[in-house]
Symmetry: C2
Subunit: 411 residues, 2 copies
Amino acid sequence: MKQSKLFTRTLKEEPKDEVSFNARVLIRAGFIDKLAAGIYTLLPLGLKVHQKICQIIREEMTAIGGQEILMPALIPKENWEATGRWENFDALFKLGSAELKQYALGATHEEVVTPTVGKYILSYKDLSLAVFQIQTKFRDEKRAKGGLIRGREFSMKDLYSFHPDEETLSQYYKIVQKAYFKIWQRLGLLDITYLTYAAGGAFSKYSHEFQTVAESGEDTIFICEACKLAINREIIDECSACPNCHNTELVEKRAIEVGNIFKLGTRFSSAFGLKYLDAAGEEKEVVMGCYGIGPSRLLGTIAEVSHDAKGIIWPEAVAPFRVHLLSLKEDEETEKIYKDLLAAGIDTLYDDRAEAQAGEKFTDADLIGCPYRVVVSAKSLREGGVEVKQRAGHNLEIVKISRLVEFLNRQ
Amino acid sequence: MKQSKLFTRTLKEEPKDEVSFNARVLIRAGFIDKLAAGIYTLLPLGLKVHQKICQIIREEMTAIGGQEILMPALIPKENWEATGRWENFDALFKLGSAELKQYALGATHEEVVTPTVGKYILSYKDLSLAVFQIQTKFRDEKRAKGGLIRGREFSMKDLYSFHPDEETLSQYYKIVQKAYFKIWQRLGLLDITYLTYAAGGAFSKYSHEFQTVAESGEDTIFICEACKLAINREIIDECSACPNCHNTELVEKRAIEVGNIFKLGTRFSSAFGLKYLDAAGEEKEVVMGCYGIGPSRLLGTIAEVSHDAKGIIWPEAVAPFRVHLLSLKEDEETEKIYKDLLAAGIDTLYDDRAEAQAGEKFTDADLIGCPYRVVVSAKSLREGGVEVKQRAGHNLEIVKISRLVEFLNRQ
């Protein structure tokens, strides 16, 4: 895309009404815009990253048999009453209609998925099964100062699994854990993301979170580096050693919860009377699990953990563009290179702005954070090509124009 | 996909609480599920069709320079007050928060897009520009009996354009009209969809709708077949002849509004103080247009206009699968064919259900409505291949297994 056509632009200064780093840098770089506290618009660059994050999650959920659906956000009061959460879930946004019906906006979807999928579960032959959606969620957060980390409106991938018994749930639960690690790997977060034991709530002793180490994180975790496991502070009193190796020399760090997985047991199937006939013809309750990841939160998390003083450093898999191509008054030559890159399928942001100075173009490239910066200048042409620099590195390299596509494809 | 793995199944009977055909057939065929009046879940088959519709729309909007963004559904009261619509837009779902902030759920997004995009419009050099989103909308509809045609929660593609003057708006307005016709063509709706003059509201004398002829349509239009134009009944008293050829022999038909385009003029830019500096350095108001299409409504519309007594007949571009492959107790042979089809990139639903009888498989194939039904049976194998039938036709054809991929690719 030509940058002169992109309707957003970077801002000279950071917004003054944001305390979180992710919101400040993403607004300044033109990825998001703030509508109200905890409520953001995804601008073209931000939406591209968000779509790439969603697609990675979608692929990994499909790979473990998840079937994608899309549930509504408007959920009738009756559904919440069936589980007792109309009164007890304090972050629900509730609303009425002209016809005096009452709804709450979906903050989570057990109250919809259980009766909906339940219609298709009759016998043990229909189990196990898993469905997921990528959808907008709403929570009436009291504090909404975390930018994309804690929004009032945010995106969520929620997978729900249905099983004949605890054992098959436990097996699938481990399969989801593995899929989640694949996702962190593809997002470039694997090294700093820990499977973390946390409070289980009503359904099991512990639940599991995935926590990404970040100074700005809301959570505190205690890490066993040897086992790549962690314990959330909320349970450290009852569980003060690594659950695997029993090591008590744990390292305390701040972290952002990027995913969580719960064994729901029969909590929701019981509330909605979701039963099945087993092989012997006996009626049994379906056993459920639920598994969340927040794509918009991940967008904010990557900005928090992958940046330097100049701006964001996007991992290649989710970068808005792979290449940021800068023309320093060499538009004719650069236009040709731009066409070659597009023809080779290399997604490129081409800074063709006539009025922008070289310094402004360099500053923008660092702030926006595409993995490769390719500069076409009189100097680079004299030296025989274009100047290539990785956003994450420091080396400048002159690459012949005729070899540029090959060079990038080899990386 | 193997049908035995699909968690949904077709229903023997139509749901009794639905009056609209589209909801009845889509629920029975397993494409959607009803959560409450006007509120539906998209099940795997329905979501696939919906994603294909969205992708066609996205491609055509991108082709005319639309930049995709994603705006929030929670819109603060102040934004609606700026345009006077907090009180005057009677289908708004309003809600409060624990912190006593008030919001309305987005029924339309002029109140967000104008101030958001406005931040990036300073001078005439920034104009014209167009942005769009594909997003969930909410309207507190009094009657919600139209299935996907009139929902309380539904998907919408809304494009907004920003211009320096009326003339450039008018030029872009025509470009969008053309893009809309391309969309109707790709969706198989071109022949029965009419550019229709309708009441313009406060901003211009007439607006334009796109109306698809359907017996169940909520609207009545008067068609000039020669000019492929129509007039909505709401303005027939003041505009009783074809606006193009002045023919008064118009044909009255029922229709579904599948798209609309409005010249907003300065209605919203004025409310939000959205101005720009022209080439002479004078401050002027930005002129806007808005352009809607409802993907979920289109899903319902296609079901309404493209079906027979046995079920839905999906146009190829949006069908959940291109091929429905039926094994009549020839699983070994069919499994091989299934793999060949997948390897050739032909999206296939494989009815591998061991317990289902031949009649049930045929009934399901007609109800679900994939463009090609391919049957593998002892009889077809004796005749030298598989039996291919188009959902929209009546001919049965025996095609050699070795030639099946080529046969389908030639269609």
